[in-house]
Amino acid sequence: MYTQGLNAADKAPPAIEDAGRLGAFQARIDAEQKIEPNDWMPEAYRRTLIRQIAQHAHSEIVGMLPEGNWITRAPSLRRKAALLAKVQDEGGHGLYLYAAAETLGVARETLVEQLLSGGAKYSSIFNYPTLTWADIGAIGWLVDGAAIMNQIPLCRCSYGPYARAMIRVCKEESFHQRQGYEIMTVLARGTTAQRAMAQDALDRWWWPCLMMFGPPDGESQHSDASTRWKIKRFSNDELRQKFVDATVPQGHYLGLSFPDPALRFDEATSHWHYGAIDWDEFRAVLRGDGPCNRDRLAARNRAHENGAWVREAALAFAEKRRRKAAA
């Protein structure tokens, strides 16, 4: 999902913690009590959450780039305003999430540095290019749709600030998803060229969207602890299946086809069965070798570097005013 990089193992040495405190902590989680910033928590819980929330925040921020690519070319004033508002929402999600991470004792600047240096992960999906206007529809429908599948359970995550941020975010994501599907609907019912544009976007985004849920359950190294701590409530494969089941009929309703010859409805399980995912591609994109990884990081770094003098000016000005007020 937005936090696929969590499937890598935590390399820090395990902290020695008091068994009684750990037991009491787990009991609170089991009783569905929320953990708040000032509560005691195991180091590994704190580290896992920081990594997950930071990756989620970075994904929102990097995610502004592929869609931002079409703001100046949106085909009507209504679409232009809606897309700009959507990308702005994603930036807002990044802000709440950085704030949620800060409650765990890590500064936003530190997290941003990790993103800019290439040391932090963000969702693989944003390393694919937006080539036509239909990609804006496909992203809203599929990417926001996949994000919702993952984030609705996160609204019940054991860490209070993250859960509350997710409630706010989910409301906006479902609006984005409806808006994306509506763009696809108009294209699918439009001219021949528009229908072809919609089909091409689905062809290109479908598999990368399935990869958003992360590696298959057998390979995920982080799920056990996250499940015990009620950070994660469904497995990668469960969420992926939910997404496929919800999305395939929506695509068929538009008269679009999915780029998967193995896709079929399984009467016995009442699920849509899908073909094999190309995990080599997934690992390559996560490693930094996707179609746009370098462009995305370069764009973030450029914005950061070009803005350095502005941030310095704001700090210098605030300092001058503080001194003046104190004098």
């Binding site: 921020i61 502004m64 780039l65 931002g68 703001i71 100046t72 070319r73 949106a74 085909p75 009507s76 004033l77 209504r78 679409r79 232009k80 305003a81 700009l84 508002a85 990308v87 702005q88 930036g91 807002g92 990044g94 802000l95 950085y98 206007w133 763009i183 108009v186 294209l187 439009g190 001219t191 060229a193 528009q194 764009a299 450029r302 914005a303 070009n306 803005g307 350095a308 003098w309 502005v310 941030r311 310095e312 000016a313 704001a314 210098a316 000005f317 001058k320």
Partner: protein, 258 residues
């Protein structure tokens, strides 16, 4: 062919409304170019907010222009199917974003005018314009506050920010004269109380400028030479590129609805 440019009627009120819509759209478009690339996340959000307000104002004005023209045109026809020489925005708003200082100074110079303009327009004899003005006043007040605060911060920040802000002010100041010029076609509208008289707006604009520039430690450019042409459709080289990008889809796909 739906991709060809439209012709618009020659009507004074229509032209005046269209010109203000063009100001708002072109500046909103410019600000939207920042989205995802601003110096800090908070500014990505703020610039997008201002862009959204301006695009919203443009849409209301185009909608009103369409009712005046009564030729079956829509907001999108005006935005996407006119050629550069048919746009009537002032040159200031089409100037490229440049660095953050250029964007802020451009916004400040425009918003200081627009805020006073929309305030005056709330008592327009034209009820539709007065209603659009009432909606625009709080928006332009926010735009002005945001840009003025940044102008002060940049002017009185570091040596570099001061230099950049002063450069931006020097470069953009010659485009401010056009805000106060009265095209011959608008004199009747001013006399009739439909359009605000720019002469009555100038004192508020000048007072804001004097106060903000003094606080920012920036020098008001002394040059009295002013660049104009936008209201007559004589634009800078920049507008053609902006429109080529903005209009590409409706121009490329005849008859398509998006």
């Amino acid at each position: 062919m739906a991709t060809t440019s439209i012709a618009v009627v020659d009507d004074r009120l229509f032209a005046a409304v269209l010109a203000r819509a063009d100001d708002a759209l072109i500046l909103g478009h410019r600000l939207s170019e920042w989205c995802g690339h601003a110096p800090m996340l908070e500014e990505d959000l703020a610039l997008a907010n201002i862009a959204l307000d301006l695009i919203g104002q443009a849409r209301l004005l185009y909608e009103y222009a369409a009712t005046i023209e009564n030729a079956g045109h829509t907001e999108d026809d005006y935005a996407y199917r006119r050629d550069p020489h048919q746009f009537r925005n002032i040159l200031l708003v089409e100037q490229p974003n440049g660095d953050f200082a250029h964007t802020i100074i451009r916004q400040y110079l425009y918003s200081a005018f627009a805020h006073a303009f929309w305030q005056a327009m709330t008592s327009s004899a034209d009820a539709a314009l007065a209603a659009i003005a009432a909606k625009s006043v709080p928006e332009s007040a926010y735009h002005l506050r945001h840009a003025a605060e940044w102008t002060i911060r940049l002017g009185d920040g570091t040596e570099e920010s001061h230099r950049r802000a002063q450069d931006a002010l020097d470069a953009l100041f010659p485009y401010t004269g056009e805000m106060f010029a009265i095209p011959e076609t608008e004199t009747d509208l001013i006399v009739g109380g439909i359009l605000a008289d720019p002469a009555t707006i100038r004192p508020a604009w000048t007072a804001s400028l004097d106060r903000i520039l003094a606080e920012a430690g920036l020098a008001k450019p002394q040059s009295t030479w002013m660049q104009s042409g936008g209201r007559r459709g004589r634009h800078s080289e920049h507008l053609g590129h902006l429109l080529a990008e903005m209009q590409i889809l409706p121009r490329s796909y005849p008859g398509a609805i998006w």
